[in-house]
Amino acid sequence: MYFYLVQNISINNQNFKLHPSGAIFWSEKQLLLIADVHLGKVAHFRKHGSAVPQQVITKNFEQLDRVLSEFDATEICFLGDLFHSHINTEWILFEQWVRSKKVSLSLVTGNHDIINPLRFKELGFELYSERVIDTFLLTHEPEDREGYFNFCGHIHPGVILQGSGKQRLRLPCFFKQPLQLILPAFGSFTGLYILEPSKEDAVFVIGDGEVIAISR
């Protein structure tokens, strides 16, 4: 049994909890931000003859449930790449999952979200190409806009850590720049893209069910 430890940060006087699943909980708005779940990816691979274990599908839904149970969220806003491919059997499971939840749902669409928007709307989703809440800009791909702090996904950020004795670790992370925070991919069957932080960036790595701030 993992003991989850979240990391609290505040941006523009608002409070955010970084969760080891990769989700962010915005306390004042009771809003969960989740990026790059890539549902449907496993089924897509299997349909093309690549035998990804089917349990991976269930794991994504379990993770979503777990996050919901830990926060009193009224809404989940997915920051793009929620569904990886065209409609396939995972969509049915997704529909079942959505119908069993009371929380409101919204999606800022990403490059992988090629499913007809009507299908999402039928499930009660609000759809956005980008979304502005107060001084915050929610997008899929990273976006610089004056006067706004940007939450986004798309990159699947990770970093490499080095320690004495030639130790190295490669880990997923929340990657925070002065005016932007890139969320790690939430999905279980997704890769990592290694970023190089500069001086003004803050990095929060995920490991062993903890979110750990890396200082320099």
Partner: protein, 823 residues
Amino acid sequence: MNQIDLIQIAEDWFQSQNWKPFPFQRKTWKAFLAGKNGLLNAPTGSGKTYALWFPIVLNYIKNNPDFKKTHKKGLKAIWITPLRALSNEIELSAQRIIEDLELPMTVGIRTGDTSQKERARMKKQMPDLLITTPESLMLLLASKGYDKTFKDCSAVVVDEWHELLGSKRGVQLELALSRLKTISETIRIWGISATIGNLEQAREVLLGPESESFRESVTIKATINKKIRVQSIIPEQMETFPWRGHLGLHLLEEVIPIIKASKTTLLFTNTRSQCEIWFQKILAAHPELAGEIAMHHGSINKETRNWVESAIRNESLKAVVCTSSLDLGVDFAPVETIIQIGGPKGIARFMQRAGRSGHSPGKESVIYFLPTHAIELVEASALQRAVKEQTVEDRIPYLNSWDVLIQYLVTLAVSDGFMPDEIYPEVQGTFCFQTITRDRWQWMLNFITIGAQSLQAYDEYKKVEVLENGLFKVNSRMVAMRHRMQIGTIVSDADLVVKYQKGGYIGMVEEYFISKLTRGDVFTFAGRNLEFIRIKDMHVHVQNSSKKTNKVPAWMGGRLTLSSQMSQLLREELYTGNMLSRKRSTEINALEHIFRQQKLESIIPSDHQLLIETFKTREGYHHLFYPFEGRFVHEAMGSLLGYRISLLTPITFSLAFNDYGFELLSDQPIDMQEVLDNDLFTTSYMHADLQKSLNATEMARRKFRDIAVISGLVFTGYPNKQLKVKHLQSSSSLFFEVFRDFEPDNLLFQQAFTETFEHQLEEGRLQQALERIATQEIVWMDCEQPTPLSFPIITDRLREKLSSEKLADRIKKMTAKLLKKGR
């Protein structure tokens, strides 16, 4: 025509060439004509092609006495070669026989280089004699109606079988042969192999254990004794010769007079990057050699390679810097001298290279050995003895390569489909799968049909379908196309084509190298300085640059290990370091001042001692162990010992190893007395501990890369095609993780561990090494600073990791440093 008349035809032909057949050629003709299968043990340049082309042709004459009037078209024989580069030579010798004997037969080559048009033409009408590679043979099995193509095939010759034997391409071939044996009842199977330690086993693997074909087979040995002389290049100033390194450039000037004094010299390097660097540096230091020296390695384009090969033959080159790409086959008479740069790591390889020179019978072959660092002189000394005592190593065949079996079954399903009950006994008859059970077989069938071991609701898995009559068949054209693309890919890393922006193919480099470049970076490749522009559709676009650079592509496959035979000789040579100088070889004597330095800080171990050294540097606490068992055994022993120590206390190690020993580096010291008191070198629970240590390192994950590609889990993309497959791209490492977390009993996942044990870590050798250590006295030296013996190890940057600390604790300790971009 009876056998005597037939053989007379061959004898007459030899006489017309003013040649005399060797006894091994005559023996092979007779055995073949008597219907035998077999293994021919003959080196390159010995006339092995005539030993087998002749009986194939004679057999045709025997069965078709009317051939001049009624020639029946269709495939009669297949010659399989592991290297496309060799196919032209083989074709020439066949052509020669056919023309001189005025036979209506045709010869054709089908390899990865064969054009689409030519392949289509062959599909309609196969040549009588086909020269091909294991992959291309597989592709033939993936085409419709293949059974008709092979029905009248009377012979398969597998050339350079020793090269294929210890690889998965060998397994691919075992499976293909198992099918051909059923399709063509009269087929004879012959292998040709250089000398290896396990020749008899090589024959068994080729023909299938306990098979009819194995019972009806012989081994024929060509006894052509070649004299080999090994000459070490010993630096005059040993004091300034480096303690570590792998390039050997310090001795560049020593090589020049050797090149100038001989007609053609081949300089063998161990890696392609080393090859590139040597070529550049020779030219820079001796511009007068421009135009007279060339470079040859597997990543350079085919035209350039062909040009270099023919230039060697017509004596227009003074020297060629090359890699193992020139190890095999092609016969270069003008080569007078061989220089081996750096330890060749294996005796068979070294001897084969030595054999490339002085081809005239009875002439002595000279091979120069150029050490790249001081301690390598010990290796030189060991090689001297190996050559004298004619020691050769084994090639270990693969067992239970499930990935290759899955690929093969899908291949059969792509062509005509298969009935499992017909294929099962064939598969079971191969060496690789001799212990397969019905359960495992069913696992394979489930994997390719439902992509799991039990049927799930809402699943759309699609690959092989089971038709009503029980036939296993691929119906989807997409699946079939992707599979055919995948067949050639028994390789280790994604290769990218390097070409000029305006067109013009230069060669292939690994993606890993390119991923670290940014626009404008300059690197050396194929003897040119190239500026990186961009990657587009699996192509690397470059332009020529005049900028200087020290970036050279590294190819991951470049690391070799010492064979056990070689390790033993190496140990014995090193132990002579304690003897009187007159009892030692010249090479060992040259190391005198290094031995002196070593003895100042520590000792030179003797055969009854295991040396352990510990010291501290800025990098952390170093713990070195010197069993002298070769890189792979050290890798295994390092992981095992590291794991056992990590049970005593939470600790994190980085592991480095070379052929002499291994290092456990940590940010905290190990209590060495505790290691000794707890008997951590014991062989008890070795397997279980090793297995657990593997979970803690990355070795199995790396092995899994090949497995994921071969079994079709990971799709590597369409070469040279702009098709959208991005949604299907994924890394094998991601697959490794989801199998580990969700399906740990998956046979492909398990295979990664078995392979690591058997082929990477050589578990059997580890056991022997530990047993040897149990009889030794352990000498622990607590040193002030790094010793000469430790230097090549502690400076190695390719490292494994092992930890028993909590990940979160490690992260917290590591917060100080953030590393730049890496893999």
